[in-house]
Symmetry: C2
């Protein structure tokens, strides 16, 4: 890998530009090539978080990920992105890939890593996840002492969710979006709705931190449910 | 709460001073009172991470947590610490409490929060957890797409661990310490040892990132096992 550039997978944290790590900020300021996914036809959330740190003459590789079902269209975009990144790395230029939250925690960075890590030195810069930022929004322990924590995608069906919620102490439900109503009904049936917390856009000016019972009917993409099942965790 | 100081619970991240967020660093630089737990008779890991940012004339509240079993001795130390913090807050001085990793992710900060949050404005500054720093040490996705992630304390017995490992896609085992040998044997019996990764002191100069099969027989306190059970998560 001598003479080749380094591939950085860099977590930009949950949204507040001040919740970016010092290392990530420095690497972005020093970067000559950055790459990031964006919603097709829209902005890149990851880029918006660190926009202030980007040097004026930087080369930008945007990967407009199509918001359609099925994996093939997105994978084609990552193929293209990886190919553009590859040519910079081959020429000896480092490439910093921006990822909201942490690159290895439900991040799309893995698609680029899969395509490039065998051929180039890779370094991951971990970031603050939305999960702990959501707990911070409520000033409530996410998980304590010897608790078991389970992170569940809201897309699972009710039976799968019920079994896993039964078997743990603290629960984070991600990817809730249009499933919010169903998830709230489920937690009510399980007698757990009272303890459940809702957060959207954690750490951003328009953050919402509410009891789940007061959450809106439709949840945005950047939202989460936190549930602490144990007794008061404060003692 | 007018005229009173603000209580900050501040995550210092996994160990590398550059993996502290910009916000945490700024708050420490500006702090006139900081508080932190330390191992009784030893250093404070949280303080060591941000030592460079501490102003020379800062007031420091050290809470030497006894390393003995049973909760009472530690709780007495948190009582004392909370009382010292309380008098600064009453006098209108902000207090920044340092916590390695994230304050609400298995953090001892909850003990102070429990004692103080009803009387003072509290703000949590989330930090990078050791969990994602350990995944970064291996350049390996912690969890991807619609996976279920389960975080388990290594102190659970084999049956409890087996049931939960069976029911999830990705596993983090924390608090492994003297349980490492037993945990490795268990994962071997479950046919999962090959996929398991070991990390200690993530992000520090003496970080060790090894396949679990090559891990030492005794794990230090700051160590973890990561297990990805799914198929190759890279596609």
């Amino acid at each position: 890998m001598a003479g080749k550039g380094i591939l950085y997978g860099l977590g930009t944290g949950p949204g507040d530009p001040e919740l970016v790590t010092r290392k990530a900020w420095r690497l972005i300021e020093e970067a000559s090539v950055i790459a990031y996914p964006s919603a097709e036809g829209g902005d890149s959330f990851a880029r918006s978080i660190i926009a202030e740190a980007i040097a004026p003459d930087v080369i930008e590789i945007e990967m407009p990920v199509p918001m359609v079902s099925g994996r093939a269209p997105a994978q084609a975009i990552y193929d293209e992105g990886a190919s553009a990144i590859r040519s910079h790395l081959e020429d000896g230029r480092d490439v910093v890939v921006l990822c909201e939250g942490d690159p290895l925690f439900y991040g799309s960075f893995m698609y680029l890593l899969a395509r490039l890590r065998d051929d180039f030195e890779t370094q991951i810069i971990p970031g603050v996840t939305s999960m702990t930022a959501c707990a911070a929004a409520h000033n409530h322990a996410l998980v304590a002492r010897s608790d078991v924590l389970t992170v569940l995608p809201g897309t699972l069906d009710d039976d799968a969710l019920t079994a896993r919620i039964h078997d743990t102490d603290a629960v984070v439900i991600m990817k809730i979006g249009r499933h919010l109503g169903r998830l709230r009904d489920l937690l009510m049936r399980l007698g757990l709705a009272e303890q459940a917390l809702y957060v959207s856009h954690a750490s951003l000016p328009h953050e919402k931190a509410l009891p789940l019972s007061q959450a809106p009917d439709q949840a945005p993409y950047f939202s989460m449910i936190l549930l602490y099942k144990g007794n008061d965790p404060w003692i």
